[in-house]
Subunit: 470 residues, 2 copies
């Protein structure tokens, strides 16, 4: 680097401090748009969100900004070429859609009316993922201001999709179709988190996801549980039995073939996990849960990061109102999701689940099963030079040792890896208590600005060390 580290750090911080308020005001505007991709009635909001981001990226200085249509929700692409033609190309990935959120789910305030309180910003999408996409805008400006550049040290591309919370059904096709425009030497995914505010970490892998909805049909209509009970199959009972049969007594998934081909943890990885300052009581508080429960023979971190799961996201059937209704319901439904780890193929998992469901249900219960678009698992090589750049940039921002984690959640990063042939790195500043997919989602403001700082330092380091590495 041309300047000493201390001076670069303080130049970045000075710039960020000066633009802090305007940055937060802009982010607040974006968070007000309820871009819930899973709910058709919000399709217009998802589009507004894309347009809003495109305008913001133009304001940031990206010379090329485009809204890319898909058969579903639009994505936003931006490109800011380096003034050094030999510089590496980096593609930043994030998403502008958000999870469903309803005040009645337990939010203290309106999920789409941002609230700044006690150093936090509360809103649906504050951490997942609008906040983490948006820190790149101030990050690249701080990079330019602190280095005196007029263009970034890397060819910087952004791809911000609008269907991540719906399983990215059109993402792979979009990436395949636009592979030339998206071509990159590395992908930076900003849609993950860190261990804790005082233990900054870099993520090295994400679980994949396959999910399905199963409808079970019993009697052609609700029937009287006195007149018919005890003599015909009940679809609510059978839905429950299916769920109960999903795991054995060791909490291993029983679907035949489910574990085929999975990459088991190495001793080094288990040691890295075990070295993290994991406090189960504290973790349970973050999980808002009251006990651990999971696959035998694995620690909680291994269960979360490196073991596949089968989870019930929703179950329903029969009478839901007050009081009782003595019926055998006509139908029941299950929403199941399966987290996948490296080595598992979503298509094979889907086939295995379909075969298992068909073989498990009794006569008299018809079923329909619909899978969403799957997300592949991915893993970053621990020794990749670009990963070292991320660790150094984070080190400057956080002034602490950066450690290694994985992410239990899922993102379409693996599609970028597959199609673009580029390694995937993760840069995220969210922490487990941020409440992703839950009421009262928030982001810690000081971490959000550490993210800005990291982005501001990363492009120069990557440009310098990438050249060395090649």
């Amino acid at each position: 680097m041309s300047k000493p580290v201390d001076s670069a750090v303080s130049a970045v911080r000075t710039y960020i401090d000066r633009h802090r308020d305007a940055f937060l005001a802009d982010l607040g505007d974006w968070l007000r748009i309820p871009s819930v991709s899973a709910q058709p009635e919000h399709a217009g909001d998802v589009r507004r969100s894309a347009d809003w981001l495109a305008a913001a990226l133009k304001d940031t200085g990206f010379p090329a900004v485009e809204v890319w249509e898909t058969p579903g929700a639009p994505a936003v692409f931006a490109h800011w070429p380096s003034d050094d033609p030999r510089a590496p190309t980096v593609l930043v990935y994030g998403h502008h859609d958000v999870q469903p959120a309803d005040r009645a789910d337990g939010w203290a305030t309106d999920p789409f009316e941002p609230v700044f309180q006690d150093g936090r910003l509360y809103a649906r999408g504050a951490a997942d993922d609008k906040g983490q996409v948006f820190f790149h805008t101030l990050g690249v400006r701080a990079h330019l201001a602190a280095t005196g550049r007029t263009a970034p040290a890397v060819h910087l591309k952004l791809l911000v999709e609008g269907e991540e919370e719906s399983g990215s059904p059109h993402f792979r096709a979009l990436v395949e179709e636009r592979a030339e425009r998206l071509a990159a030497d590395a992908v930076i995914v900003s849609d993950t988190g860190m261990w804790a505010a005082d233990t900054p970490t870099v993520c090295t892998g994400m679980r994949g996801l396959a999910d399905c909805e199963i409808e079970l049909f019993g009697p052609d209509q609700d029937i009287h549980s006195g007149s018919f009970g005890g003599a015909v199959p009940n679809p609510a009972t059978e839905a429950a039995r299916l769920v109960a049969a999903l795991h054995d007594e060791h909490a291993r998934v029983t679907v035949p073939g489910f574990y085929d081909g999975i990459v088991e943890l190495t001793d080094r990885e288990r040691r890295l996990f075990a070295e993290l300052p994991f406090d189960e009581e504290r973790w349970l508080r973050t999980a808002k849960s009251h006990a651990t429960l999971g696959e035998a023979g694995h620690t909680t971190l291994e269960r979360l990061w490196a073991r596949p799961t089968a989870e019930v996201n929703g179950i329903g059937g029969g009478y839901q109102g007050p009081g009782g209704k003595t019926i055998i319901p006509a139908r029941a439904m299950l929403k199941l999701s399966f987290r996948l780890v490296a080595g598992q193929d979503p298509d094979r998992v889907e086939d295995a689940v379909r075969a298992w469901v068909a073989a498990t249900l009794p006569a008299g219960i018809r079923h329909e099963i619909v899978f969403g678009a799957a997300t592949r698992p991915c893993l970053t090589p621990l020794d990749h030079p670009a990963l070292r750049s991320v660790v150094r940039a984070m080190g400057l921002a956080f002034e602490r040792e950066i450690r290694y984690t994985r992410e239990g959640g899922s993102g379409p990063a693996a599609d970028l890896q597959d199609v673009l042939g580029a390694p995937v790195l993760f840069l995220g500043i969210s922490i487990p208590s941020d409440g992703w997919h839950a009421p009262d989602e928030k982001v810690e403001l000081d971490l959000l600005f550490k993210g800005v700082e990291t982005a501001a330092h990363l492009w120069g380091d990557l440009a310098e060390n990438w050249r060395d590495a090649r």
Copy 2:
């Protein structure tokens, strides 16, 4: 009897034919009142229903008609003393409240706008139980007209409660409190059905009912199934496991103590059941179901009439909307009901279920369990003289052999038996396809008028034979 049978039959029929249209118009008015006792917003309608019935019973000629308040919905009591002071006293039991019904559940027409079509009357409550209560009004008038009496041959009492579809929570207390007014030599329950339109039967017993709602609490709020999945208990999964654990592989209920003390079927009863013209394919069509499934070692009729059950009436938890939501839900709920047979005590069953649920759920899942008011099972002695009167009166109306069944459903008849010390007899004309608790509930008009005829013949036969029997 003072007149030959043929002449009595034709006198009754002539009277009924003359009053048929007015009777149906009045019943239609009553069915328009949505007296759904399980839904608090219909409390006013249940009251209107009681007032409507009280007025109708006064019009019928009952000298004493009273609306009896309870802590819940009101009941209606009516008394028409015989002109023979030595006549036996008969208490007719029914209910004026109905099951919830919503057009969206699959009704072809508004459930509270009666439709006459193809010899049927479609409406919620047409068969369960307004139609079967109401046939007694025309029945007693026809009895008087055909016999030239000015008062019934028996001291006739009616008790029509307003909370049967909510498990009759205040019925037993009401009966205990008013036991002197209700005192009777026999109870006639008109809230059951027959085998088929062409196989008239008299019911000799009903199953009891215990029901509960179980809420399961896992995380304090919905949490991300990627960040936390595989490592903490999921209340939807645990609700499902509870349901799955309710039965063993022989479809026997596993709750310890559940079967304690039950009265097993005698060989004669099994033979009576086996002699009925049971056609499984046809029964499945009536049940709108596509297979039989039940306790090993028992026929379908035995499972329905003489074996206890554990049934899921409702299950819910997690995301219910369109698309997916990758959460571990904060809570889940189960609505379970248990049909009970003679010898089972609802209080002991409740204790057994509570203990089993507490012992079955894992650490980290808190639960709350609320039982509704239970209904006891009951059985009528096959050789009771009053039962023979019912069989003879039905024989005059139906002109066929009357056979014996039981009823899988439940009613508070056993409370009347317990408190009043009177045998309970069943007089019902509904058939299995009438759709109790289901969409498109209906009553067959010709059977409804056979009910009127039976009631018209019953009081004279009872008065005559009761005297002989005493």
